[in-house]
């Protein structure tokens, strides 16, 4: 299924935005990330073609930006086979510099595997060299991290999987409030090429515009060669960040 923004003229440059598994992997406001990317791209003068990819759908020919979210365990079961079949394609795109945002469940499945509490191993696509094992308790609460590339990033974590970064993968940031990837090594999320993966909801992008603009900039440059990085004035954004950062865990 695809749509284009209706308000823009047809002669604006197009960006093809792919949302992975909106039907089964869209919990905790992952739609918010899509909304923010679409609106900011429109404000930057682009027309956004949104592709919703669900299991069994045809994969679009042109993909400039990929977003995927978290799901209930039942949702993850529904998409797992399809995702494994799609893995090669997604890895090619990532190697080719396509920016991607993978939150929570898809972060785990972008990794090598998820080992459940009963020892069952759920295979991931290995796009990110990270391993996830079920933890003894859910890590839940407001979270703040410091990121080398994005400054202070604010979100909300809610996961039982504990993820460990392996060679070639950088953390998204280091936790200053909350538990992060595994509650042990202080890391949160993962970075590889233009892929950003994280446990942070909130939704992540509305209150972390630096991350949104990183994804947008790289999508536009990859497709059109250059990007006019005029800053956007978004009302309430700065205060929403301050309010969120001040809340208890």
């Amino acid at each position: 299924m695809e749509t284009t923004g209706t308000r823009q003229g047809a002669d604006r440059p197009v960006i093809d935005l792919l949302q992975l598994y909106p039907r089964d992997m869209n919990i905790y406001g992952d739609w918010g990330n899509v909304l923010v990317l679409r609106k900011r791209l429109q404000l930057h003068g682009y027309e956004v073609r949104l592709h919703e990819y669900n299991p069994g759908d045809a994969f679009p020919r042109q993909v400039d930006l990929v977003v995927g979210g978290g799901g209930q365990d039942s949702g993850q079961n529904k998409i797992q086979a399809d995702l494994l079949a799609l893995g090669g394609r997604l890895k090619e795109l990532a190697e080719d510099g396509v920016p991607m945002l993978a939150i929570c469940g898809l972060y785990q499945l972008f990794g090598n595997f998820f080992r459940t509490g009963t020892g069952e191993v759920i295979k991931g696509i290995g796009l990110l060299n990270v391993d996830t094992v079920a933890g003894p308790a859910r890590l839940i609460g407001n979270t703040v991290i410091e990121s080398a590339d994005f400054g202070t990033v604010i979100g909300y974590e809610n996961h039982s999987g504990q993820t460990f970064l392996k060679e070639g993968v950088q953390p998204f940031g280091m936790v200053t409030k909350g538990e992060g990837n595994n509650g042990q090594d202080g890391t949160e999320g993962a970075r590889y090429r233009n892929v950003v993966a994280s446990y942070l909801h909130g939704s992540l992008l509305p209150k972390n515009p630096a991350v949104a603009d990183f994804l947008i900039r790289n999508a536009v440059i990859r497709r059109y060669g250059s990007f006019d990085d005029a800053p956007l004035e978004i009302p309430f954004e700065a205060q929403a960040r301050l309010d969120a950062a001040a809340r208890p865990r």
């Binding site: 695809e2 039907r23 869209n26 406001g29 992952d30 918010g32 309430f236 954004e237 309010d243 969120a244």
Partner: protein, 445 residues
């Protein structure tokens, strides 16, 4: 009479009186009675002639419980309920202390209890309900329970403990799936456990978005994909009470195969659907003794519970308070109440009882407010809410985290226009308190 039970009753009652003098602490007397006699609850609830009803689910517990109580009272039953809104075991003990005599005997025919999902699990270990009414499982306080499936698991435990009849929401696949769980804890009695359903006519189902089709997509060409599998399953189960139409406060039901028209004091299709649930439960409890005319009279008199879709008059102007706790509930409320002709305020807190995670606001579709805009955005997370509205092109008037200031401005503005406030739980409590201080508040329904 057991000495320990007597002592627990006396001590609990004493604490209750003291707590009342101090003006607070509805659960403390329960704590004291429970400490002295851990079997207090099974003793006091175990001998009621018509047993115990447990009502649980994510949305609508309080209003539905209130309706069931009033429907049964209208049939002449003495009903014990935990109306103070303390829907934990201890709150039930506290309420029982208030209603029992000095020897700890409860003067009631039946207990109708609203229980929070997680606490219901503890409660049913102590007291096996004869009936349960399970409303829905939605994404609510995921930060507490983690997953919808976890919450569904809690409700399964209630179903397993039920000894008589379960009344289930046919339209919620996770609730309907509990049909096979009835009485499985009570060995040998499983066969005797009955299942009844309440449901929606097919044309009303689109009004109730489930979490599974959360991405309804006004934004996507082709619109939402109907969940044909669950719709087909729903057709197979016959429901005792079906909501067949709802227009403002006029509702029509199919009750036991007969079509009934009713004018209610409830607004919002979700409240009216709760009425279908309450009717199905009342008919189950009463069986062939049901005085149907009296039942429908009681139904017409039922008003919404405190803060749940209440219509107030403030300084002579109508003001609706609409409690919103989760994305499905907020979406439903926005679909139920057209924005045209109203001024709108939204108040979002993120205290523990509200849920701390703001992600849910991004799963609510606010397009229906785009034409009128939102005049006041308030609460601890007002700026999150305002940012959400910005990204959906909904115009925002004032943004102020100070609830009192927002409320004063809001009710002082546009004196001839009716007003509506969507608020989270703790924001609702605060607004209700402030309204009481500021103005003459008259509860219409």
């Amino acid at each position: 009479m057991d000495m320990r039970h007597l002592l627990a009753t006396l001590a609990g009652k004493t604490v209750r009186e003291v707590a009342k003098l101090r003006g607070g602490g509805s659960a403390l007397p329960g704590l004291v009675a429970e400490k002295i006699d851990p079997r207090f609850l099974p003793r006091v609830l175990g001998n009621l002639p018509r047993g115990v009803v447990v009502i649980s689910g994510t949305n609508g517990k309080t209003t539905t419980t209130k309706m069931v109580v009033e429907l049964l009272q209208g049939q002449g039953l003495k009903v014990f309920t935990n109306r103070t809104g303390s829907n934990f075991t201890r709150g039930v003990v506290a309420a029982a202390l208030g209603s029992s005599n000095l020897t700890g005997r409860l003067d009631a025919d039946i207990a109708v209890l609203e229980l929070d999902e997680a606490h219901a699990v503890h409660f049913v270990k102590l007291v096996a309900p004869r009936y349960c009414l399970l409303l829905n499982v939605m994404r609510d306080q995921l930060d507490r329970f983690g997953e919808i499936e976890t919450t569904a698991g809690f409700l399964r435990r209630i179903a397993e403990a039920t000894t008589g009849t379960m009344v289930l929401n046919r339209e919620d696949p996770r609730i309907a799936a509990l049909a096979d769980a009835g009485g499985s804890n009570s060995a040998g009695r499983a066969a005797a456990v009955q299942v009844r359903y309440f449901g929606l006519a097919p044309e009303l189902r689109p009004m109730f978005p489930s979490d599974d089709d959360m991405r309804s997509s006004a934004a996507v060409v082709g619109g939402p994909v109907p969940d044909s599998a669950s719709a087909a399953a729903a057709v197979l189960r016959e429901a005792d009470v079906v909501l067949t139409g709802c227009d403002g406060s006029d509702a029509s039901f199919d009750i036991g195969g007969r079509r009934i028209e009713a004018q209610l004091k409830l607004t919002g299709v979700y409240n009216v659907y709760n009425a279908a649930a309450a009717l199905a439960l009342a008919r189950t409890v009463l069986g062939p003794d049901t005085d149907e005319e009296a039942l429908l009279r009681s139904l017409a008199d039922v008003t919404p519970a405190f803060g749940r879709g209440e219509s107030l008059t403030v300084n002579g102007q109508p003001l609706d308070l609409v409690l919103v706790k989760n994305p499905a509930g907020f979406r439903l409320a926005l679909r139920s109440f057209p924005a045209a002709g109203y001024r709108t305020m939204i108040a979002i807190n993120d205290n523990y009882a509200d849920g701390r995670d703001m992600s849910w606001l991004w799963d609510v579709d606010f397009e229906s407010l785009a034409a009128t805009g939102v005049d006041e955005v308030s609460g601890v997370r007002a700026n999150d809410m305002a940012l959400r509205l910005f990204y959906e092109d909904v115009p925002v008037g004032r943004v102020d985290t100070d609830l009192t200031a927002s409320l004063e401005r809001f009710i002082g503005s546009a004196p001839d226009t009716p007003k509506r406030i969507y608020c989270t739980y703790t924001a609702m409590l605060a607004l209700r308190r402030e309204l009481g201080k500021l103005t003459n508040v008259e509860v219409i329904s």
